[in-house]
Each structure stands twice: as structure tokens, then as C-alpha cells.
């Protein structure tokens, strides 16, 4: 399936897919890294803030205690106050109303006066009886026992969480005649004040009953505070103090602290900071990254398509051009205005076109100068010197009385006549599959069976000879009509094993055949001048033997030869044996007609 999906029909899609995949991977990784870093950073930041808030919270309590101790010390050291407090007419009710005055001076909501044994003499708070004020007695007892100048601790007053401070009244120092007991509540207002400064949510939870934890004070909503209370109860002592808690409105990084109470079970103090605001900047960054990514992807798409177009368009041009070349149009040139590989390819194709055109031209010339078969053989095997021995039928044709003729005619007329004659003869030879080896003045040397082997070479040669005879007759008819002297020719045909190949120097060579058989063919042609033979065509026994061997004996190939109806199979008339110059044995010759 993947192979099918990723098999692109167009190069552009491949570039597009590749570029987009790379970009998506890069952007996705970046986004993920940024997100993860931001989230971690937000958590760390929230935690650092929390720890700062926790320190502020502790400092706020300490500062408040110090302030109360300071104020109480001023009061307890004041002579007028001491006198007033020791006045005989000062009953408990009046003392309580006096302590109300002191609550306003000091800013502590609760002030009580206690004797050195911790018994309460009066309290500014109306309902604060001896039982309710018990924690003060504990605190004073502890301070007395430890001989502390003052003492403070957390406890419940009338079931509400308070911070209690006990300060002695000396008369004179260090004789303690009374104790001031001051308290301020840890309530919603106190929590809110801490939140106003630190932006941290604070919740105090009584955990003595795990089934029903009690929220003592909080800056959160009741629902959220209940969740926090349950989480505080569920925590184990060994647990990491910081955890993320999900409340209805946001996730909160939460710091759980334990606070010991005077004579009571400890409470939990939970400080929290919402992650949302911490992550806001991160979310902004993330959305910016997303926007940039989308823009980058769009640009990459356009870029990929542009690049693909830049590649595929010239490739398509090159393909079209290649098809033109395939059709044989070598003159067409492709123009790509670029210097890259495609430009080089276009240049190479143009060079190829030029090369092909040149080859064509050379071949054309070759075809005219040498026979097409020789040209083809040259092009196929190269123009290397060397040859092979093979059976070839050689045809020699010569004009009779050409010398006399050349004396009578002007050179121009002579050449015209000669070319006209050679043209007809060449046509007759080539029609029969012969290869013109060379023109030697008015003589023609033609090969059958070389360079391309032919099984019926001898038949073809004889048929060609007869055709030449007929062609000359036609030419003569034309010449007569023109009032010119008719021509006569003699043809010798011989079949022999000869050496065929490129003959000449390295710089100039011809494909030709050499051997005794060639000379014999020339001699046979010469013999046609012998009047008593009464023939224009003479051949040897070897050729007749080759004719009989050939598969198409008596019926020349219809492929290369003229229509068979025109032809008649050659007839032979033995002319006896003749001694050929250069050969020891006499040769048996035949007239062909």
C-alpha cells in the first residue's frame, strides 16, 4: 500500500511530499519541544512563586505576632495602664470593656487578661469564657514552664482557627503579675490578604477527621475548597509537597504544608497557584509558532511546486524534443535558458542532434560514393583494414570502342554519355543486388555476395548481366533517336573464392576483393571481343556450378530481382576451353544469353 501511495505520477508531487514531510517533521518537533519546555517552565515558575508565597505567608504571620507582642509590651509596660488594671474599683465587666478599647489600640480582635497561673480575668470577646480561652492557659503554662518572654502558637478559639500570643505584664521586671493573651483569626479575610499580595490561593484544612475534612479558611470557592480539603487529607507524609490539583476552573500547582496546633491535631495549609495564567504566555507563543508553521507550510508548498515546475517543465520539453529526434528531425534544437544539469542535458541533446545529422550526412555521402551495402558494412564494422576469404561472383563490364568514341566526342559530351551509360548499368546491377565495387574509366567492376553474403549471388550476377544488355539496348534506341552512335559492351562474370575487405592505406581505403578470380572475370570480359564467340556475356564453369547449387536455381530471387515475368532464366552455350593469361589450366567458358 505504501509503495502505491508513494509512487508519484508527477515529479512535482514527490518534491512537494518530501518538502512538506520534512517541514512538518521539523515544525512538529519544534512545536512539541516548545510546548514541553513551556509547560515545564510554567510549572517551575508556579512552584517558585508558591515557595515565595509560602515564605511570605510565614513572614506575614511572624510579623503579625511581632506586632502584637510589641503592642502588648507597650501596654504592659505603661504605668497608667498598670495602675488602671490594678485599680480596686475595676470589676471584671469594666475590665472587659477596657480590653475592648485595647483591641482597637492594638488591632488584635481578641485580648484577654490572665493571672500568672493562666486563669482568665477578663476578655474583650463577650463569649470567651474560661473554657473557650483554654488554649491561652496552655500557652501561658508553656511560656511559664520554658521561662519564655512571650509565646505564640496556632489553636482554636470558639472552634475558629486563631494565632495566639501571650505577653507577660511585669511589675517590676521580671516579676509577672498578669498575662495579656492576644489572638487574631486565620479566617477568609486573612487568607484573602495573603492572596492580595502574593496572588496565591490559601486554604486551611482541619484534617483530624479524614472522612469529613473541615475547611477553616480559604480564598477559593466552597466547591474548590472541598476538593483541596479531600486532597489534603489523602496525602501521605512522605509524599512530595508539590502536586498539580485540578479544580473546577483550572489546574493548580499546589504546595501542601503541615501546621502544628497547640494541643490539637495538626492542620494542612495548602498554597496554590493556577497554571492558566502561567501558561498564557506559552499558549501565545505556541499559537504564534502554529501560525508561522502554517505560513511556512504554505510557502513551502508554493516553493515545492515552483521547484517541481522548474524541473518537470524542461524535462517535458526534453522528452518532446527526444520524440522529434526519434522521428528523424535532427535539425530541431532545444533551447533551455539554464546552466544547470538540465541545461547541460539540453546542450548534450543538441550536440547529439548535430552528431546524428552529421552521421546522416556522412552516410548519405557514403551511399553515393560507395554502394549502400558497403556503406552499411563500413558503418557497422568500422573502416578497419583487413578482410576475409569468401566466395564472390565478380562482374566486369566494359564499353567497346570507347577509345575511338572519346576521340570523336568533346570531353563534355563524352562524360555525359559515359555517365548516362554508367547510370543505366549501375541501376541494372543494383536492381539485382549487386554492389558496384568501382568504376575504372568506362569499365565497371561489381560484386555479388560481398560484402553481404548472398546464397544466389551467381544467379543475380548473370541476371544483372542480361539486364545490363537489355538496358544498353534501350539506351541505344534512345541514342539512335538522338542521332548518336550506339554503344556496345562486353561482360565477364566469374565466381571464385577471393579475399574481401578494406584495402588501401590507413588514410584512404576501399572495400574491395582481390584474388585470381577477379583477374579471370576481367579476362572473360575481354574474351567477349572475340568475334567468333558471338556473345556479349561470357562466364566460367564455376559460376554455372554456383547457379546450380543455389536454392533458387533457374528462378532468381523475387525479393531483389525484377518481376519474374520479365526474366527468363539465363541460357548457356559452351564456348570451349581457353587459356587465360596468368592461369596454368585452361578455363571452360560459356556464352550467356
Amino acid at each position: 500500500v505504501a509503495a502505491r501511495v508513494f509512487r508519484f505520477r508527477r515529479f512535482g508531487y514527490r518534491v512537494l511530499a518530501l518538502l512538506l514531510a520534512l517541514l512538518c517533521a521539523a515544525l512538529g518537533t519544534t512545536f512539541w519541544l516548545v510546548s514541553a519546555a513551556n509547560a515545564a517552565n510554567a510549572r517551575a515558575h508556579a512552584r517558585a512563586n508558591l515557595e515565595l508565597g509560602a515564605r511570605y505567608y510565614a513572614a506575614a504571620i511572624d510579623q503579625r505576632i511581632e506586632f502584637l507582642v510589641g503592642s502588648a509590651s507597650v501596654m504592659s509596660g505603661d504605668d497608667a495602664i498598670k495602675q488602671t488594671l490594678r485599680e480596686e474599683s475595676l470589676d471584671a465587666r469594666t475590665l472587659a470593656s477596657l480590653l475592648v478599647s485595647y483591641t482597637q489600640r492594638v488591632g488584635a480582635p481578641v485580648i484577654g487578661l490572665f493571672d500568672p497561673e493562666g486563669r482568665q480575668l477578663a476578655n474583650s470577646e463577650p463569649g470567651m469564657d474560661n473554657e473557650n480561652a483554654g488554649p491561652f492557659a496552655h500557652l501561658i503554662a508553656r511560656a511559664t514552664q520554658a521561662d519564655m518572654p512571650q509565646a505564640s502558637d496556632y489553636s482554636y478559639l470558639k472552634n475558629e482557627l486563631h494565632v495566639l500570643v501571650a505577653v507577660p505584664l511585669y511589675a517590676p521586671y521580671p516579676v509577672i503579675i498578669d498575662w495579656f493573651g492576644l489572638a487574631f483569626p486565620i479566617d477568609r479575610a486573612f487568607a484573602q490578604k495573603i492572596k492580595d499580595i502574593t496572588r496565591i490561593e490559601v486554604t486551611f484544612v482541619a484534617t483530624e477527621n479524614p472522612a469529613a475534612p473541615r475547611v477553616l479558611a480559604t480564598t477559593l470557592s466552597d466547591v474548590a475548597a472541598q476538593i483541596v480539603a479531600r486532597a489534603a487529607v489523602a496525602r501521605r507524609p512522605a509524599e512530595e509537597p508539590v502536586a498539580t490539583l485540578t479544580l473546577p476552573d483550572d489546574d493548580y500547582v499546589s504546595l501542601f504544608q503541615k501546621q502544628d496546633l497547640l494541643g490539637e491535631a495538626p492542620i494542612a495549609v495548602v498554597l496554590q497557584r493556577p497554571l492558566g495564567p502561567e501558561l498564557a504566555a506559552a499558549h501565545e507563543l505556541e499559537s504564534a509558532v502554529l501560525r508561522i508553521s502554517v505560513v511556512a507550510l504554505c510557502l513551502a508548498t508554493l516553493l515545492a511546486l515552483w521547484i517541481a515546475r522548474g524541473v518537470s517543465q524542461p524535462v517535458q520539453q526534453l522528452a518532446a524534443h527526444t520524440q522529434r529526434i526519434a522521428r528523424g528531425d535532427y535539425d530541431a534544437r532545444i533551447a533551455l535558458d539554464r546552466v544547470d544539469e538540465l541545461g547541460q542535458l539540453a546542450d548534450a541533446m543538441n550536440a547529439m542532434s548535430a552528431g546524428l545529422a552529421e552521421r546522416d550526412r556522412v552516410r548519405d555521402l557514403l551511399d553515393k560514393n560507395v554502394s549502400p551495402e558497403v556503406a552499411a558494412q563500413l558503418l557497422r564494422d568500422g573502416a578497419a583494414l583487413g578482410g576475409e576469404e569468401r566466395e564472390v561472383t565478380i562482374l566486369f563490364a566494359d564499353l567497346r570502342g570507347f577509345t575511338t568514341l572519346s576521340e570523336k566526342l568533346t570531353p563534355g559530351d563524352l562524360l555525359g554519355l559515359l555517365n548516362r551509360y554508367l547510370d543505366r548499368m549501375s541501376a541494372a546491377i543494383e536492381e539485382h543486388g549487386g554492389v558496384i565495387d568501382k568504376f575504372i574509366g568506362d569499365a565497371i567492376m561489381a560484386l555479388f555476395g560481398a560484402p553481404v553474403a548472398q546464397g544466389d549471388a551467381a544467379d543475380r550476377a548473370l541476371a544483372a548481366a542480361l539486364a545490363m544488355e537489355r538496358a544498353l539496348a534501350e539506351l541505344n534506341t534512345e541514342l539512335s533517336a538522338e542521332g548518336k552512335t550506339p554503344l556496345a559492351l562486353g561482360i565477364g562474370v566469374n565466381t571464385a573464392r577471393v579475399v574481401a575487405g578494406n584495402i588501401g592505406s590507413h588514410r584512404r581505403l576501399n572495400y574491395s576483393v582481390i584474388g585470381d578470380g577477379v583477374n579471370v572475370a576481367a579476362r572473360l570480359q575481354s574474351l567477349t571481343r572475340t568475334p567468333e564467340y558471338h556473345t556479349n556475356i561470357i562466364t566460367g564453369a564455376a559460376t554455372i556450378a554456383a547457379c546450380r547449387r543455389s536454392p533458387s536455381s533457374g528462378a532468381p530471387s523475387s525479393v531483389l530481382g525484377p518481376p519474374s515475368s520479365v526474366l527468363r532464366p539465363p541460357s548457356f552455350r559452351p564456348l570451349g576451353r581457353v587459356q587465360v593469361k596468368g592461369r596454368a589450366e585452361p578455363v571452360e567458358i560459356f556464352a550467356v544469353w
Partner: protein
């Protein structure tokens, strides 16, 4: 009539309210007494005191000092004026009197009280005294005396000691009426606890029968800085 204003201490709580209303017109009684001897027929002057926001100002003291005639001879009342303590408050916030008037401070409360003054016109301090006791002091010099209780910081009262028999205290609607004032030129003075300086203005009163325009003052008052007695807010939380 005045003997009725001095009830047994136990009945003081009941007597306090009517007492306050009568004190407001106390000056008028004096004026009536004086007018009997005056050669000219006395006039009546309505006063209206507001603040800069046009809200009525209560507890403002309006008094008239004659400019053409010599200051009249004052006859202080033989019985003391009462400023009781109840609910850990002075039960009359502002009390105008003439020079030489006695003031008694009956403790009608459940707790002991103390009264002191550091004002130059009359410095004094009673020791802490139990419910039922009623110490008395005579204010023999003109001026404003601020009264406090040294064990109850929020307790505050003023005694305004005047040298003229023509004065009145504005009620909650900001109005007061001066009666029995002989025609003539006067310096009208307005005092209020939250006023930085006594307001003064010269006026001329026509003879009785001729309608005179009401005396109107618009006062720029300072913010109220009294300590609130916060029994009801005690234990009300962190401040």
C-alpha cells in the same frame, strides 16, 4: 421643672432622652427670662446649618454675641446639667452651657467609668467610678471642653461654654431656633466638633413682627474621626 431633670440615678436611662431635647432649647429659656427685662421686644431667629453637600448638620451650636449692647449678665442655672454614661457612651454628644454652669456625670452604666478633660478651658479628671456615682464639675471659663473616658477610647463628648444667653443646638434636620433676642447687630457664631474654626458672621435683627430671613450657614466639615464602639464587631476578624 429643673428638679425633674435630676432623677434618681436608676431612672437616668429613662430620663436621658427627654433631657437631651430640652437642653436644646435651654438657651431659649434663659432668653425668655432675660427678655422680660429687655427694653425692646425680643425677636425670633430661625437657623439652618448644612454642610457643603447641603446635608443637614446636627449638633452644631449657633450663638449670637451683641455688638452694640454690653454683654448681658448671665444667670447660670442653680441645678447642674446632666451628661450621663450609658452603653459605654456619653449620652449627650454636644452640650452648650453658659459660663458658671455645673455639669454632673451620672454613671448609668453596668461598668465603671472615668471622665477627664485636657482642654485649656477646664482641665479635670475623676477617678474611675462605679455605676450609680455622679461626680459634678463647674465650667467657669468660656471655651470648648472635650471629654473622654481613659478606659474606653471611643467615648467622647463636648461641652461648649458660652458667654451669651442666645444660643441653640441644631437637631437632626440641621435646624435650630433662637428666641427672645432683642433687635440689634450681632455676631453670629457657629461651632461644630468637625469644624476647623468657628464660623462668624455679622447680622442685624429687626424688631419682632418684622420677618427676618433665616440664618443659614454652610459648613466645611472635616471627616468624622471618632472611634466607633465596636462591641458588636469584636472578634469580627482580621483588620
Amino acid at each position: 421643672v429643673l428638679s425633674a431633670l435630676f432623677p434618681h440615678p436608676a431612672g437616668c436611662a429613662l430620663a436621658a432622652q427627654p433631657l437631651r431635647g430640652k437642653l436644646a432649647t435651654y438657651g431659649s429659656f434663659c432668653a425668655v427670662a432675660l427678655a422680660f427685662f429687655a427694653p425692646l421686644r425680643a425677636a425670633e431667629l430661625a437657623c439652618k446649618i448644612t454642610d457643603t453637600k447641603n446635608a443637614p448638620v446636627a449638633d452644631a451650636i449657633v450663638s449670637l454675641v451683641p455688638l452694640d449692647a454690653p454683654p448681658p449678665t448671665l444667670a447660670p442655672p442653680s441645678e447642674p446639667v446632666l451628661i450621663s454614661q450609658q452603653g459605654e457612651e456619653f449620652q449627650t454628644f454636644v452640650t452648650p452651657i453658659t459660663v458658671g454652669t455645673m455639669v454632673t456625670f451620672p454613671n448609668a452604666d453596668k461598668v465603671s467609668h472615668q471622665v477627664y478633660s485636657q482642654s485649656p478651658a477646664k482641665k479635670f479628671a475623676f477617678p474611675l467610678y462605679k455605676p450609680g456615682a455622679m461626680p459634678t464639675v463647674t465650667f467657669d471659663r468660656p471655651g470648648v471642653i472635650a471629654l473622654g473616658c481613659n478606659i474606653h477610647d471611643w467615648m467622647l463628648a463636648y461641652v461648649v461654654v458660652l458667654e451669651t444667653p442666645w444660643f441653640a443646638k441644631t437637631s437632626a434636620d440641621g435646624t435650630a431656633t433662637l428666641t427672645g433676642v432683642p433687635p440689634g447687630r450681632y455676631r453670629a457664631e457657629v461651632w461644630h466638633p468637625r469644624l476647623a474654626k468657628t464660623e462668624k458672621r455679622e447680622i442685624t435683627l429687626a424688631a419682632a413682627g418684622a420677618p427676618s430671613a433665616p440664618l443659614a450657614f454652610s459648613l466645611a466639615l472635616k471627616p468624622d474621626r471618632r472611634i466607633r464602639h465596636s462591641v458588636e464587631t469584636t472578634g469580627g476578624g482580621y483588620k
